[in-house]
Symmetry: T
Subunit: 71 residues, 12 copies
């Protein structure tokens, strides 16, 4: 039954517009090599600041995909 084993990874995506786009960047970058992603949980949201202004929205996402297929 080893085909039903999944691996969990955490990625951090970034966007200058929104946390939705930051999470999407992380997921879709991973999705190029990982074909079996189904759900991604948000672990943390933060903001990068320069000169008192918000310059990026960042989202840490937890992804699971079939073990043995890279990552």
């Amino acid at each position: 039954m080893s085909d039903s084993v999944y691996k969990v990874v955490e990625l951090v995506g970034s966007s200058d517009k929104s946390w939705e786009e930051a999470a999407k960047n992380a997921v879709e970058t991973a999705g190029k090599s990982l074909k079996d992603l189904r759900v991604a949980e948000i672990r943390k949201l933060d903001l990068k600041i320069e000169n008192g202004k918000v310059v990026a929205y960042r989202a840490k996402v937890s992804l699971s995909f079939k073990y043995g297929l890279g990552g």
Copy 2:
């Protein structure tokens, strides 16, 4: 003093645009029958993925409303 008792429920809303709209869907669906909602806390955010693409933003919200008025 039983009129001041509140019940807490958790709902999960979904949207293909944003977590704001996902949370709003959950709150406003509940709001049709629950007249005394005042605040909703976000418990969890996640993403639904199909073919390596994000297809939905989901938000789990915790709502409180007067006990005895449904839910």
Copy 3:
């Protein structure tokens, strides 16, 4: 080495549009007096509700800045 000591504060920002704007309001209000902000972590997201409708998105952010420069 006291110049490397930072203080952590928590602020809650609000917006009728999005959590991104709520967090940005908190950070940029603080940024007027605090010149050394670099990162802000999101501690909590919630919603203010009136008459069954969402009227504000609120974000609690944790900021750190050099100790001794106000706050």
Copy 4:
């Protein structure tokens, strides 16, 4: 063995005197319709403030009772 299934609910009670009375209000309001309550765990305590004065003590309690008997 379905008769041994319990449901968990969270209620928030309020009192102008004490958290004990706040929790008791929540439990005993529920107890009117739920005959099988045995234990209630405190999940959160807070205070309502008006004009710089404490006007209410509130307690969020988690209750379990037999599934299928309302709630």
Copy 5:
């Protein structure tokens, strides 16, 4: 988009054999009335003891099902 709103409930199941059976009792009791259950997360495991012996295994499970269909 209200059809995509889910409600989360917590149930406690019990068994004299295993936590698997305890969780299954909770889920399948709920499943009689709730047709759209898909996943159940375990929130807590405990044991009931009498005269120094384990007499029951109990599992608290968190279930989500479509809002408006009972619960």
Copy 6:
């Protein structure tokens, strides 16, 4: 929209009678200078002990008030 930014502070109050009075002392001491307090969450309760006897009940409370008005 900077007028809607709030700051969060934590205070510890003390009383030889009850946690209610301990929390009230913290809130009402702060309330002398902070006019816009509305809610205070309890973060921790503890006891001070001398010679095997409880001599004080202490409550750590988290307060939010309008940013820029002191604290």
Copy 7:
């Protein structure tokens, strides 16, 4: 420096009046044999219910005392 080693224990006290008295019962029962108690942190508060009424307030307290002096 072994004289400065402390041991941590958790006790649950009970009272039909208040959580303050429940915690005090736990501390002062322990205090009969443990001479060096200085602080006790509250880990959990709950309620015992019979026939829909609150019959006891219970407090779980964490105590530390010098290692080697019983407990």
Copy 8:
């Protein structure tokens, strides 16, 4: 009211078959000397591995029993 004071202890049991048996070993070993055990909460489950194979299931359980009766 000192007769109503309970002490909490944590034990780790082990089994080569199941977590149920691991927890039962911990509880029933304690039960030989502690006559008043009523409930045991599971705090952690883990596995011991040798040569890439699972050789034991381990369960950390939290037990409470009347203070003054050993432990």
Copy 9:
């Protein structure tokens, strides 16, 4: 001293019988390529449900193995 560095990974195993078998599937699938596994901590247990019936028990396990040997 780099030979003493370990890497932590999280895997999710699945079984239609028990959480023990689910965890074992995850560990032993990993164990085929990772020779130095010694302990695996359970991070989460859940259930997959179809048509109101439990169809799989799933366990998320955290494993550590020598860094540089794959994973």
Copy 10:
């Protein structure tokens, strides 16, 4: 009883030698203006890295001091 109210602040100290020195820097910088510090809890430890090398140890500490005396 307002003299017994304490305020809690979080500071982050830094050192190129150890977390002990990082925490000490935070405490003793604060100690110049805050005369009543008695205990500081460590909330988080981290490392700053440049070119693959550790360049600073950082400690986030939580301090409490008498309310009304600065901070």
Copy 11:
């Protein structure tokens, strides 16, 4: 299989030099009577302060040893 039951205790050690020495003091004080200690997890680090200076580093450690051998 009762010989494989372990008991968990928490001790707090102290040192004027480092948290390593504080934890070591706790472990080695316990180690005089407990022969089967194998691992100790750090639960909390703090600092004792007098006159604005750090006077002790303290570490709370969680130890497990064979049940029935003291502690």
Copy 12:
């Protein structure tokens, strides 16, 4: 914007001297192949014990580096 995606990994380092050296071993072993490490958060500290003596200090660190560059 895939160039801004980071991956998070957890490593456990070990030292017979200090947790600082344990964390440094983990970071600098990883730093040989991962050029873009900037910060490492400490997730857990523990001690390895043999014959009642501390033989190693271990630190679990969480590192993030650019996705696609190994790990």
